[in-house]
């Protein structure tokens, strides 16, 4: 499927090159230039990703747009990239969100503009690299590299407690991925010196090593997703991160963990995955129920949405370990949809934060009186967050619930409680922030959203509704790959 033209490499490296160019504009005297270069770079990054979607062959599960060049021949490390129906939608999602965060930070970020914008562009390229890597070393490099821009974004442009949050974010996720490195080296040894991920898929592994490898992968990915009980870095990171950071964190970075399960844990260690499935499902269901209740009691809007992210990502891990098409495709849809919805929710909070510089629910009330257009957008995204049919938020949850009842009625029962808790925490927050009489002089002074904000929220609203009313294209893209994965996972590797 290699077309000769290194499109995939371009998608990885173009944002990084632009990012470096943005850095080069230097101090804030050239802030305007930095913004424009960043916007052009991110839009180009998105535009060149479109042929990736158009040229994608949905009938095959094989890797497409592949490129392979030797990197360290001594260790058989290759620059080997390619995509299938699982990684392609995630790359598009990532390329889509880069211009969104650039626009979101347009007027809001006033200090160190070039570094801020550059960090997001570099991040975008790195994340594309993670999704496209077919070589374990390449993957690991991109994987760890993705921590750095976000670490800086939180640590520099974050809130008052940003240093604690940034370090917690960094150490938590680093700790998880170190064990993955050990597992990758083990696989390199047993496979007779290959770092190809696709080789690992075919590699027979005895039961005990499988379990150990699975646990190593699991820790790396579970922290990233994040799953209960290793989720506590996320609320802190979100609360302290600037709006753009939160958006990318929720919309994109969490998906790295989900992607890792599908690319590594399930196909490399299928027997261990089956063996430990009920444990993972239990953790996922705890995330849905327990985190749902915790979210209810949050006084900080960002914390609330962060917890709601954990609950929604619980559906993702739940879906993966059901080992049926509903579950895995549902989980994939949930990842994409969660990207749009949580991104939009954080942007909405950002809109309020930019005006009042508070994230506390109690500081608001009656916002609708002053910002009716904003309130309408926020309502749409809140309803999507609560999984209303017709929005993308429903599709993934619906599919995962349908998938889980096949395994056990009680899985579906517990998962479906999100219908109640999800609506409860989202609408209760909405009520306290948006509805009511104008609560304070500060709220009285609010101005409705600007054209820039309107444009961003409109684009997101279109996608949330589109994938709610017509999710067919989403699953169409991933069918072949998911079928192949399911087939692969059902065969023992012992």
């Amino acid at each position: 499927m290699s077309s000769g033209f290194p499109l995939l490499s371009l998608i990885i490296w173009l944002p990084i090159v632009f990012g470096v160019a943005v850095f080069a504009t230097g101090s804030d005297r050239n802030a305007a230039l930095a913004r424009w270069i960043a916007l052009v770079g991110s839009l180009l990054g998105f535009l060149i990703a479109i042929p990736l979607g158009n040229g994608f062959d949905t009938t095959t599960s094989a890797m497409q747009f592949t490129e392979s060049y030797p990197w360290f021949e001594r260790f058989n490390v290759n620059y080997h990239i390619g995509i299938d129906g699982i990684s392609m939608p995630l790359i598009l999602l990532n390329c889509f969100f880069t211009p969104i965060v650039v626009m979101a930070g347009w007027e809001v970020i006033k200090e160190r503009v070039s570094q801020y914008m550059g960090a997001f562009l570099v991040m975008s390229g790195i994340v594309n690299g993670v999704f496209a890597s077919l070589d374990a070393v390449l993957f690991y490099v991109f994987w760890e590299a993705s921590l750095i821009p976000m670490f800086l974004i939180i640590g520099i442009w974050g809130g008052p407690n940003r240093v604690y949050a940034a370090i917690k974010f960094f150490l938590y996720t680093l700790l998880g991925s170190l064990l993955m490195l050990v597992a990758l080296i083990y696989l390199y040894q047993t496979s007779g010196g290959s770092f190809s991920i696709l080789d690992y898929h075919q590699l027979p592994i005895p039961f005990t090593p499988q379990i150990l490898i699975f646990i190593a992968f699991f820790l790396a990915f579970a922290v990233k997703v994040p799953m209960w009980p290793v989720h506590t870095w996320l609320p802190d990171a979100h609360v302290e991160a600037p709006t753009g950071g939160s958006v990318i964190l929720a919309a994109i970075l969490l998906k790295l963990g989900g992607y890792g399960f599908l690319r590594f844990a399930l196909p490399i260690t299928p027997d261990a995955s089956h063996y430990l499935a009920s444990t993972v499902i239990a953790l996922s269901l705890i995330a849905v129920v327990y985190i749902g209740l915790i979210a209810l009691m949050q006084a900080d809007m960002k914390k609330l949405i962060a917890y709601s992210s954990v609950a929604h990502m619980g559906f993702v891990t739940l879906g993966f370990f059901l080992f049926n098409a509903y579950g895995i495709e549902g989980a994939m849809v949930q990842m994409i949809s969660h990207g749009f919805i949580s991104g939009a929710m954080f942007l909405c909070v950002g809109v309020l934060y930019d005006r009042l510089h508070s994230r506390q629910i109690a500081d608001y009330g009656g916002v609708v009186n002053k910002m009716p257009v904003f309130a309408a957008f926020f309502m749409l995204f809140a309803m999507a967050n609560a999984g209303l049919p017709g929005t993308s938020g429903f599709v993934g949850e619906f599919m995962v619930i349908m998938g889980s009842i096949k395994i056990s009625f009680w899985y579906a029962f517990l998962a479906a409680t999100t219908l109640i808790t999800g609506a409860a925490y989202t609408l209760w927050m909405y009520k306290r922030v948006i509805f009511g009489a104008v609560a304070s002089p500060a709220v009285e002074g609010l101005e409705d959203i600007s054209k820039r904000e309107f444009a961003i929220l409109t684009i997101l609203a279109i996608f949330v509704l589109w994938f709610g009313l017509y999710p067919y294209p989403l699953t169409d893209v991933m069918h072949a790959s998911v079928d192949h994965l399911l087939n692969h996972v059902s065969n023992s590797k012992l």
Binding site: Y172, M297, G330, L388, P389, F398, F409, A412, F413, F435
Partner: protein
């Protein structure tokens, strides 16, 4: 014809978009013109489709493929048959009337366009619900009407009570939807499809299938599915114990109380169960549950209506009770009677609500009936139409409500399903209660002393034509719709749509005894319901027109019972204590102890502290003095040598 099917939901959707997104630019007048015109288009299309269906042209087909996953295809499509056709007419007709009425009711409200947008959006959602040919689309419509209901209850969003009520409505409905979605999931699991026709075709194959939800206790799959689906209906159609949201929903503007919370949306549950008759007929357990829940709702909600003084709340509790009637009919396998009562109720209840709204405008938004009285002099049209609706509601022969309600009572009487005896007692007793509270409302509002203040009295006048015309138009089917009993209930109108097991032959017995509309009326004169309703009306007249002091005495004498009814059996208090506070407290405990103390405090920060602590200890050995290092080296060498030598 298929293009016409699309027009029915899409025309109101277009109206909603025009008024909602562009209402600012087109202005109030063009907003209401556009929405009314488009709902009218939808109504005309529905009428045309209805006649087409009467000629036998039913339709079951796909509009587009929503999703394919695994080997299942989920489609958006329409099922146009006798059941959906009748629902489409009822929905578009009442919606059209309410649209027109709204011009008068909301004319000086700042949210005028928004309101029109919402009610048009509602019409779209409701159409998607009733026209669906599959469970996913049903669930879409089901939740979409819930969303619009949420938006409309909280329409006046600065009122604390309104924004509390709308959240409560949404959440209670979500509890129902929770069961509903699980029911749908079980259907998909067993039947492998969510398309109605394919599910119904296979339903009897699963009649004896069992599932062990709890180990060792096998249950019939169909019973579990039906009860889960019915939980959804309980939420939407406000059946005990999920009824608590409906009375509070009266915080919304009155036109939507008529449209959504009386005539259409709340009947979605009834419609759904009737649609699912091939499933429910296979489970007597489920039917018994439906009968019992319906019976409780019918009687106990009617009793509450007797002590309410807020005019809208009386009508709201009346709606609950009437929905109970429909539910009882479903449980007795008299699906056609349930749908028939749904239809007549839509008309007479719309009149009662819109009439109440008319009174409320005249009274300058005063809703307390204790401050009304004698209004018939000022508002003759409102009075006349409401009086007709009250007669229909009380089930006086000749009016629509009589036919539908009598059919239900008779059907329950004939039913042999367990629980029918209890339900029969409930529905029969409630005839008296219904007549009492309905005419209590009429007499307190329109008759007797004029108890309003002087200022209000001076401004009393009949409402404008946009308000009264819909009332008059709706009053026509309030009288006449009952005469359709012949084809709809006892006839074979629903022959191919509603499936009734041969053992559940209540409707069949009803049909054999049926001797025409006139015969039914004359026969009624010798039956209990007629006399009960007459006594009810008479009691209301005696207590609220003649001996007006007696109600107060009764109230003082039976203080406990009065309180129990007035506080709606304390169910709201219990829920708010048990569920709302319970969840909040549990959330707080899990957060403060689970997340903050144990995970973060002990494990995460604890690890960091251990690292810091051990580092601080180890650091002490890095003193920088050569003789310390030399000494350590010597000790080390001694230890190693010792180890080596021995």
């Amino acid at each position: 014809m298929q293009k016409l099917y699309l027009l029915v939901p899409l025309a109101p959707l277009l109206g909603a978009i025009i008024a909602g997104l562009f209402g600012r630019y087109v202005g109030p007048t063009w907003s209401h013109r556009a929405t009314i015109l488009l709902v009218f288009v939808s109504f005309l299309a529905s009428v045309r489709i209805f006649f087409d269906v009467m000629e036998g042209n039913t339709f079951n087909g796909t509009v587009y493929t929503w999703l394919i996953t695994g080997d299942t295809r989920f489609e958006v499509g329409f099922l146009i048959d006798q059941l959906s056709a009748i629902m489409m007419i009822v929905v578009s007709f009442v919606s059209l009337m309410v649209h027109i009425y709204t011009i008068g009711y909301m004319h000086d409200d700042p949210g005028y366009q928004r309101f029109f947008s919402y009610i048009s959006l509602f019409t779209f959602s409701m159409m998607m619900l009733v026209m669906s040919n599959n469970f996913v689309q049903l669930f879409f419509g089901w939740e979409a009407v819930g969303l619009v209901s949420y938006l409309l209850i909280g329409f006046w969003y600065t009122r604390p009570t309104a924004i509390y009520a709308n959240m409560k409505a949404f959440l209670v409905n979500r509890v129902g939807d929770f069961g509903f979605l699980l029911g749908i999931a079980m259907i998909l699991m067993y039947f492998g499809t969510l398309d109605y026709a394919s599910v119904f075709a296979q339903s009897s194959d699963f009649a004896n299938e069992k599932i062990e939800l709890f180990p060792g206790i096998p249950w019939y799959v169909i019973s579990v599915i039906c009860i889960l689906l019915f939980i959804g209906a309980m939420g939407k159609s406000a059946q005990f114990p999920l009824h608590v949201w409906l009375p509070d929903s009266m915080e919304g503007p009155t036109p939507i109380s008529a449209l959504i919370h009386a005539a259409t949306m709340v009947t979605a549950g009834i419609f759904m169960v009737a649609r699912m008759s091939p499933l429910f007929e296979l489970s007597e357990t489920a039917l018994t549950a439906v009968l019992i829940i319906g019976g409780i709702t019918t009687l106990f909600m009617a009793l509450v209506a007797v002590v309410q003084n807020d005019i809208k709340r009386v009508v709201a509790f009346s709606t609950l009770s009437q929905l109970g009637y429909m539910t009882v009919a479903l449980g007795a396998s008299a699906y056609s009677a349930a749908i028939f009562h749904l239809m007549t109720h839509a008309f007479f209840k719309a009149v009662l609500f819109l009439g109440a709204g008319s009174v409320i405008i005249a009274m300058h938004h005063e809703q307390d009936m204790q401050k009304m009285g004698g209004l018939k002099r000022y508002m003759p049209i409102t009075y006349a139409t409401m009086f007709i609706a009250a007669l229909a509601s009380a089930g006086v022969p000749g009016f629509s409500g009589f036919f539908s309600k009598d059919a239900i009572i008779e059907a329950v009487h004939f039913s042999s399903i367990p629980g029918a005896g209890f339900a029969y007692f409930c529905v029969l007793t409630t005839v008296f209660v219904t007549a009492l509270y309905t005419f209590r409302l009429i007499f307190m509002t329109f008759h007797g002393q004029e108890r309003m203040d002087k200022h209000t009295k001076e401004h009393l006048h009949e409402s404008p034509w946009v308000v009264t015309v819909p009332l008059v138009i709706l009053a026509v089917p309030t009288i006449a719709a009952g005469w359709l009993i012949d084809p709809v209930v006892v006839g074979d109108y629903f022959k191919n749509v509603i499936y009734v097991d041969t053992n559940h032959d209540a409707i069949k017995q009803l049909s054999t005894e049926f001797t025409g509309v006139i015969g039914m009326m004359s026969h009624a004169l010798s039956t209990a319901p007629f006399w009960l309703s007459l006594i009810g009306i008479f009691t209301a007249w005696y207590l609220y027109c003649i001996q007006t002091a007696i109600p107060e005495k009764i109230k003082n004498h039976f203080g406990i019972i009065y309180n129990l009814l007035d506080r709606k059996y304390f169910i709201d208090e219990f829920y708010s204590w048990f569920f709302a506070s319970g969840a909040r407290n549990l959330g707080t405990v899990l957060w403060k102890y689970g997340d903050v103390k144990i995970i973060d405090g002990f494990f995460v920060n604890g690890t960091a502290k251990v690292v810091a602590l051990s580092a601080s200890i180890v650091r002490r050995y890095q003193t920088g003095y050569i003789y310390h290092y030399a000494f350590t080296m010597i000790v080390g060498i001694v230890v190693i040598l010792t180890f080596w030598l021995y």
